[in-house]
């Protein structure tokens, strides 16, 4: 009789095994583990390279980094001025040498206040903590800042206000692809980088913005202030002071 138990138990066990499995809802979507890489902005990874690049670029004046490299001796002595016998003349072919000003009408009549673009109060106290240098606080309006760029800047501002710095950064880069020469986009991007703790890139972006900000003094002042902030965070207080000075000159 004992032998009966074995199959009976086996069958019972099997039936139990079949029945005891919950008929749970099994999702089609993979329940696999997340990819091992953690989310982080890779900007900092390049810091050594960046530092290297800066040291190589020593010919640039340390203070401004963006402009002004006036040669001593003003050229006259070193430039040969005698005509050469068989020299070909400079072609008058139509090289575009007209000075380019981004904004022919630098005095803005319509103040553009980034803070006022957004209804979220968090945005006004943006985590960058950049001091508003002028009571007007606004940047000069620019006729190029039209629909899509304004819309994306607004989105980015909301994302930044909500603490989503990566999202804000991504939206601003989207705006940059649409308007790569709009300094306000680069300015906002620099501020987001500051908030992300990447002050080296913040300074670089502000410097890039300055090259597009001719004739827009209040924006230039904001950019120099951003550079000052970034330099302070990098421990370069002398450079920060110089940048502050530039900011005042531009106002």
């Amino acid at each position: 009789m004992n032998k009966w138990w074995l199959p009976a138990l086996t069958a019972l066990a099997m039936l139990h095994g079949c029945a005891s499995v919950p008929r749970g809802n099994i999702p089609v979507v993979d329940s696999s583990t997340r990819v091992s890489n953690s989310e982080r902005v890779t900007a900092n990874q390049r810091t050594p390279v960046a530092a290297n690049g800066t040291s190589q670029a020593q010919s640039l004046p340390e203070d401004s980094g963006v402009t002004v490299m006036i040669p001593q001796g003003a050229g006259a002595s070193s430039i040969q001025t005698f005509p050469a016998g068989n020299a070909a003349p400079i072609s008058s072919a139509p090289i575009d040498t007209t000075p380019i000003t981004t904004n022919p009408n630098p005095i803005a009549d319509e103040p553009f206040d980034i803070a006022s673009m957004n209804s979220t109060p968090a945005a006004t106290s943006a985590p960058t903590g950049i001091p508003r240098s002028a009571p007007a606080g606004g940047l000069s309006a620019d006729e190029q800042l039209d629909g899509p760029v304004l819309a994306l800047l607004t989105t980015a501002q909301q994302q930044q206000g909500g603490g989503d710095l990566n999202g804000a950064s991504s939206s601003l880069e989207r705006a940059q692809r649409i308007a790569p020469r709009e300094p306000q986009v680069l300015f906002r991007l620099a501020q987001v980088r500051l908030a992300q703790g990447d002050s080296a890139q913040a300074e670089q972006l502000a410097r890039r913005a300055l090259t597009y900000a001719n004739g827009r003094p209040s924006l230039q002042a904001e950019l120099w202030n951003t550079i000052a902030q970034a330099r302070e965070k990098q421990g370069d207080s002398a450079g920060a002071a110089l940048a502050r000075q530039k900011a005042r000159v531009n106002l």
Binding site: T10, A11, M69, G75, P83, N166
Partner: protein, 773 residues
């Protein structure tokens, strides 16, 4: 399930010893029962493990850049429609439902599909785009309201496949289009909802149908059995396998409900082969055959896909369209027969063409060079398993429109130059980037654009010839106290003894000396003698340092021959170097990837825009000016026989010794392209930089129609009027006076005003005409 054959056979034995036999039989059957039960438990474990765990590994999907739409955007209607076609938009008379578009004159109406991007969801919406010329002139939404910016969903350009090369797009059962489930059940297993895994009725019907029609029209296995077969078993045909399959099917049905089983089936079923890659599931099949998401499929398309399940290779609609059509219509008839769809609906569907796209538009082989770049970048950050199994979504900067234009420019130019002896053996590579963002937009790694293999754009390191010269002139122009664009250079033969003791005697391409020239002319006309002399004055190590600051770290020895481009670079490295010049002296690492999302659409990683100022913008401005003169009056001037003179461009030709490498690298405001032509065996080609690579480049630029180069004038740049013959300061009122940019303080003293009437400067142009390529 637990029956044993032993018990039945035992009963036929003689009754005399039946008691003994019965006892034995009982014991034997019990043993059999135990064994079978054990086997069932084992099978049950297998069934559950695979079904409850991670069922599939999903290869990472790589997407092109999403097309952004906004008012004022430079985009031709034709390019826009090309993009829509690639995305599988249906052309309808009025755009109805996601993935539909209609064209009325300059207006294009479309219903976008919506997509989850890194920074948020782009909703599916109606958009009316109005074109004017090559620009987007207006954009309105469903209620006629103005839209600021809209993104289309990105084109999927490939995936990163594991070794088994299985690919699929997972779908959920509540996302499937109408008719799909009904058609599948009606065709493959009409008792699906009532059987318990195996269907005796179905088998009987199959036998009846097949014997009465005299052909294999129906199979007897249920959907559950088919799933079990695909999921757990090999394709071996044997009775034991068939029995195992039946047992597993029953076990599966015991644990999971019909919808779960159906959902698994929809994702598992094999529907075709794309080269090495196996296309599994209706989600991917829909993309593969129709370039459309499954949800958008109509009855005739569904019937085709369901019909193919029976024999994916036999009924392949691309290879055997007639056969596939017959099969599709047979499936449609079944639907009418079983009352799934009305006769009118079925008749309408039967009138439709097959509607499959020409080839798998998401084939891994479409853009191999760019995908190779993406994979290399990803492998630095992810493990292989992450890439092949996790279903990651990789968003790139790839621009399919520019890629197609680059490929067409390449093939057309080769066709045009086919007469040149030896041009057949010439290979090619091309890199297209946006210098303002540092993003790679198109990549060609081989003359046969769809051919995956040696990726010359990344791996062919070849002597860059005169492409190195801008670095020489930039090194000089960074010293404005010593060099300006109008400094005098001696283009005369000379020789130097190198560090290795060898005497180096550079020569001009035309074997002539050109005497005293302006500095910029050395670059514009690519003179070797004057450039080498200048480079030696500046110092070879300094020039190499400049190349490093331009973004390319080369390990070239500091030999004088490096000044004329004896050192090698890949086309990608050349693009990096020129990008820094194009981007005002700001170096940007080349990026092909923008961001990575998980399979669930959650942000995982971003590759942010990064820049590093490495040059004074003034010096860059001067080099750009000289490089513009390359195009206007120098070795690149043939471009303006094709391109409008209003399109300001800058660039440089490059030819290595004996024309082994033909290079051109140049840029507009928003587009940079590097072209290399040469032979894999490093043999001689019939092309110089100007007659080969530049021709491809010009053809590409004509198609791409970029924005003219327009670098803002830096603060430290002044424009001065000079006399073209003497290089001395002049005045705008003087005849023939030309304007040249100088770094402030280095300009010649202004000359006196000439007054009187201006004279035409015809003579100035005469010397230009003497120049040949």
């Amino acid at each position: 399930m637990t029956r044993s054959r032993n018990s039945r056979t035992a009963q036929k034995r003689s009754p005399g010893r039946s008691r003994v036999w019965l006892g034995w039989a009982l014991k034997l059957s019990l043993v059999g029962l135990v064994l079978l039960a054990g086997f069932a438990i084992y099978l049950d474990a297998i069934v559950q493990e695979k079904f409850s765990g991670k069922r599939w590994t999903i290869p990472a999907k790589v997407y092109a850049r999403p097309l952004e739409l906004f008012v004022g955007q430079k985009l031709s209607k034709d390019d826009f429609l090309t993009e829509l076609d690639a995305l599988g938009y249906r052309r309808e008379t009025a755009a109805n439902g996601p993935g539909a578009a209609s064209v009325n004159g300059n207006n294009v109406d479309l219903n976008t599909r919506g997509f989850q991007f890194y920074e948020g969801l782009e909703p599916a919406q109606f958009v009316r785009v109005r074109f004017s010329g090559d620009y987007v002139a207006g954009m309105t939404g469903a209620n006629g309201g103005k839209l600021d910016v809209v993104r289309l969903e990105p084109l999927m350009i490939g995936g990163i496949y594991p070794k088994n090369l299985e690919d699929r797009i997972l779908i959920k059962i509540d996302q499937v289009p109408p008719y799909l489930l009904e058609t599948l059940v009606a065709t493959e297993d009409r008792d699906f909802y009532s059987h318990f895994g195996v269907s005796p009725k179905g088998i009987a019907r199959a036998i009846w149908v097949n014997t009465s029609s005299g052909a294999m029209r129906q199979g007897g296995s249920t959907l559950t059995q088919q799933l079990v077969k695909n999921f757990y078993l090999t394709s071996e045909r044997s009775l034991t396998r068939k029995l195992t399959e039946a047992m597993m099917a029953v076990l599966l049905e015991m644990h999971y409900d019909k919808r779960e089983i159906l959902e698994a089936y929809l994702n598992e079923v094999f529907v075709g082969q794309d080269g090495q890659r196996a296309v599994h599931g209706f989600g991917l099949a829909s993309q593969f055959f129709f370039s459309q998401p499954l949800q958008e499929l109509k009855l005739h398309q569904i019937a085709l896909l369901v019909g193919m399940v029976k024999g994916p290779s036999y009924y392949n609609p691309r290879r055997s369209p007639e056969r596939a059509l017959v099969r599709r219509n047979l499936v449609l008839d079944l639907l009418a027969e079983q009352g799934v769809a009305s006769q009118e609906v079925v008749d309408a569907a039967k009138k439709m063409p097959l509607g499959v796209t020409k080839r798998g538009s998401l084939a891994d082989s479409s853009f191999p060079a760019f995908l190779d770049l993406v994979k290399r970048q990803l492998r630095q950050d992810y493990r292989d398993e992450d890439l092949t199994e996790e279903g990651l979504r990789i968003f790139t900067s790839f621009d399919p429109i520019l890629q197609m234009k680059a490929e067409t420019a390449m093939s057309e130019t080769f066709k045009r130059l086919a007469g040149r002896k030896g041009s057949d053996a010439v290979e090619s590579a091309m890199v297209v980037t946006n210098p303002e963002t540092g993003e790679v937009q198109a990549l060609i790694g081989s003359r046969q654009s769809g051919f995956a293999g040696f990726n010359r754009a990344i791996d062919a390191v070849r002597p860059i010839g005169s492409l190195v010269k801008p670095a020489v002139y930039l090194s000089a122009l960074e010293k404005p106290s010593k060099y300006t664009l109008t400094s005098w250079l001696q283009d005369e033969p000379f020789s130097v003894k190198g560090a290795d003791g060898q005497v180096w005697r550079p020569q001009n391409y035309d074997r002539r000396a050109h005497g005293t020239i302006y500095l910029y002319q050395g670059l514009a006309n690519s003179y070797n003698l004057s450039t080498a002399k200048l480079g030696l004055e500046v110092g070879v190590p300094n020039v190499l340092k400049t190349i490093g600051r331009l973004g390319v770290n080369v390990d070239w020895p500091a030999f004088p021959s490096m000044l004329l481009g004896a050192g090698g670079m890949s086309p990608m490295q050349v693009a990096t170097m020129y990008q820094t010049i194009a981007n005002g002296g700001f170096n940007t690492p080349m990026r092909g990837i923008r961001s990575v999302l998980t399979a669930e659409g959650e942000p995982l990683k971003r590759y942010p825009f990064q820049i590093q100022q490495s040059f004074d913008p003034g010096a860059i401005y001067l080099v750009q000016n000289a490089m513009q003169r390359v195009m206007r009056e120098g070795t690149g001037r043939s471009v303006y026989s094709v391109l409008p003179s209003s399109l300001t461009l800058a660039g440089k030709t490059g030819t290595s010794n004996d024309s082994r490498d033909s290079w051109f690298s140049g840029f507009s405001q928003d587009l940079l392209a590097v072209v290399w032509l040469g032979r894999d065996d490093n043999g001689k080609t019939p092309f110089t930089g100007a007659t080969g690579a530049l021709q491809v480049w010009t053809s590409f630029m004509r198609k791409a129609d970029p924005l003219p180069l327009d670098m803002p004038q830096p603060d430290n740049i002044v424009q001065a009027w000079i006399d073209p013959y003497s290089g001395q300061g002049s005045d705008s009122s003087c005849p023939g006076a030309v304007q040249m940019p100088y770094i402030r303080g280095s300009e010649p003293a202004a000359g006196a005003a000439c007054g009187g009437e201006q004279q035409p400067a015809d003579s100035v142009m005469d010397w230009v005409k003497g120049w040949m390529n």
